[in-house]
Amino acid sequence: MLEAINLSKTYTSDGVDFQALKDVDIRIDDGDCLAIIGKSGSGKSTLMHLLACLDAPTAGNILVDGTDTSLLSEKKKNNLRNEKFGFVFQQFFLNGRDTVFENVVLPMRIRGISGSELSKAADEAISAVGLKDKRNKKAKDLSGGEKQRVCIARALVGKPQVIFADEPTGNLDSATGAAVEDMLFGLNRDKGITLVIVTHDPDLAQRCKRSVEMKDGQIVAGGAV
């Protein structure tokens, strides 16, 4: 369960403060499927980064399964992200020279897992996204939809509780985009993985169980449970 209490984030550049997030409260239960929608600059990405412990809030608290993350050391936060969270980004951030397999196992390698445990987890994740026959292909030789499926496999391989997806279909045409969406919702439905999708696409948000709309750093619709 993720919980944000009175979350604020202020960026300072060249002495000018910019408040990206203002007193946001939100609760995301296990197995939830939430869309965070809003125009660019509305603070939706900032909210996701804070929820995913990629950044620290200026004020307020984030609780992950009841633990206040502001009390955790950098190392503990790294481990938390590695073990409980998975990430899918608009840009794929794949290493084109490496194989599908090598790209998928990155979180496991960071966790310090090797040998048969590593390949078992990787094969499971690669099969789950239907890329079994492309396992040893170089990532750069894949199509856009396949690349995003590799990213989903990479998010999935560590058996996370939550997958954060930042504009997961932004770089894909509508047909492949829909397939990737189906895959993500399938994970939520079948494996009970919590899904947090950041998007500006209202159609995608419609398909989620619930959605919150952000504007000027505040939740204007949907809101706290």
Partner: protein, 426 residues
């Protein structure tokens, strides 16, 4: 990540840009190659000198001579010399403060209260006319004394251990008999002239043929009793008979620790004492300084190459900003990021050093082969390049250390990247 995974990752990252990495490795190679060769020359010299001096050995032996007065520097030419009164030593004999020569009893007296001594062999100045095996064929001879307490390595036979014995050099032995083993136990006659220019001979037994070395290449070594007899014949009636400037003192016990104490006490009495170890250390120190001097050139090359490493890694960090951002987002710690880039840096050094060492050994070995053909007669036993494991390990260690330090700045920059900003980086 497991350590082996890290090294594999680092190596794979490194050779993503093959040309750039290869060029950086090449720069390190040049430095390592030079360092390998300069170390090889130094070790070659060291080994050669070692082979030449180790033929004469002696434990519990010290060489004694009068301490040299250090001349006052910058003293005007017309400055008067201070008068020093003659002093009496323990035996009651007068010691001229300006004389460098002493008698054996004076040296023995100097050792009183310092150390128990077994024998004192003065540096006899003797000269021979010829050496002959059968009386017909005579060879010029260069006589030397083997002081008591000193042993000589021999090709065949043994070192001198009694009176009327002689050890002859290898060249002479080969002239006397093709099979040098046959000479051991045979009698030779050594001719010399006394003070009245009368030719005298002394009959000696060949006990051994000396192994080659700086002194043993030409000298025919006599036992100290024979040397003393010849010396007395050659100095009879002369005013400075029985006075010597250099002595070999055999101590009753050869405790290494006591040497320092003996040296200090003798120093107070105006004598300078040195051991075999001291003499060798001086030579090896000189070789060491020579080696360092040559290595400086290689070190400058390595220093220049290390800027290549910095450059390569700074660019690599920029190129891989997004990748680093992703890795950090997925939970990789700062330390690990630093470690990956440091390892890449060290690996550049490692590959460069490996190539440099292999290349240096290859060229050195070829050069050695060539030199053996060209200079074999005049430099027997000298190998220009000698490659020893410790020296090669030092080259490898040094280069990897320099490479590590070159990588610190880029690795630190990579480790400090903010994952969100890194992922947004265009």
């Amino acid at each position: 990540m497991k350590f082996w995974d890290l090294i594999r990752t680092a190596n794979r990252n490194l050779f993503r840009n093959k040309l750039r990495t290869s060029l950086t490795v090449l720069a390190i190679f040049v430095g390592s190659f030079t360092l390998t060769l300069t170390n090889g020359i130094g070790d070659g010299l060291h080994t050669y000198v070692e082979n030449q001096v180790k033929n004469i050995e002696g434990t519990s032996v010290v060489f004694v001579q009068k301490k040299f007065d250090i001349p006052d520097e910058g003293k005007p030419a017309d400055a008067p010399t201070e008068y020093k009164e003659e002093v009496k030593d323990e035996t009651g004999a007068l010691i001229d403060p300006d004389s460098m020569s002493f008698t054996v009893p004076q040296i023995e007296a100097a050792f009183k209260d310092v150390a128990d001594i077994k024998t004192v062999t003065p540096g006899f100045r003797i000269s021979g006319e010829y050496i002959t095996l059968d009386g017909n064929k005579k060879y010029d001879v260069n006589l030397a004394t083997l002081s008591d307490g000193i042993t000589q390595k021999t090709e065949t036979g043994k070192t001198i251990d009694g009176a009327n014995q002689v050890v002859i050099p290898l060249g002479l032995a080969r002239a006397l008999d093709e099979k040098i083993q046959n000479l051991v136990g045979k009698q030779v006659w050594v001719g010399y002239k006394d003070t009245e220019q009368n030719l005298k001979t002394v009959k000696l037994e060949i006990v051994g043929v000396a192994t080659k070395g700086f002194m043993t290449n030409t000298g025919t070594f006599l036992d100290s009793q024979t040397a003393r007899a010849i010396y007395e014949d050659q100095t009879r009636g002369k005013t400075d008979a029985g006075k010597f400037s250099r002595f070999t003192v055999q101590l009753a016990s050869g405790d290494e620790k006591s040497y320092e104490d003996i040296k200090k006490k003798l120093d107070e009495k105006g004598f300078e004492a040195t051991t075999f170890a001291d003499q060798r250390k001086r030579t090896y120190d000189a070789i060491g300084i020579f080696k360092i001097g040559m290595s400086l050139v290689a070190l400058i090359a390595l220093l220049a190459a290390s800027f290549g490493i910095i450059n390569t890694l700074v660019i690599a960090v920029l190129e891989r900003t997004k990748e680093i951002g992703l890795q950090k987002a997925l939970g990789m710690g700062r330390g690990r990021v630093f470690l990956i880039f440091s390892l890449e840096s060290i690996l550049i050094g490692f590959w460069g050093a490996l190539l440099g060492i292999v290349g240096g050994m290859l060229i050195g070995t070829i050069a050695n082969q060539y030199l053996i053909r060209v200079y074999s007669s005049s430099f027997e036993g000298y190998t220009l390049f000698v490659f020893t494991l410790p020296s090669l390990a030092i080259v490898m260690g040094l280069v990897c250390t320099i490479a590590f330090f070159a990588g610190v700045l880029p690795a630190f920059r990579a480790s400090r990247l903010n994952p969100i900003e890194a992922l947004r980086y265009e």
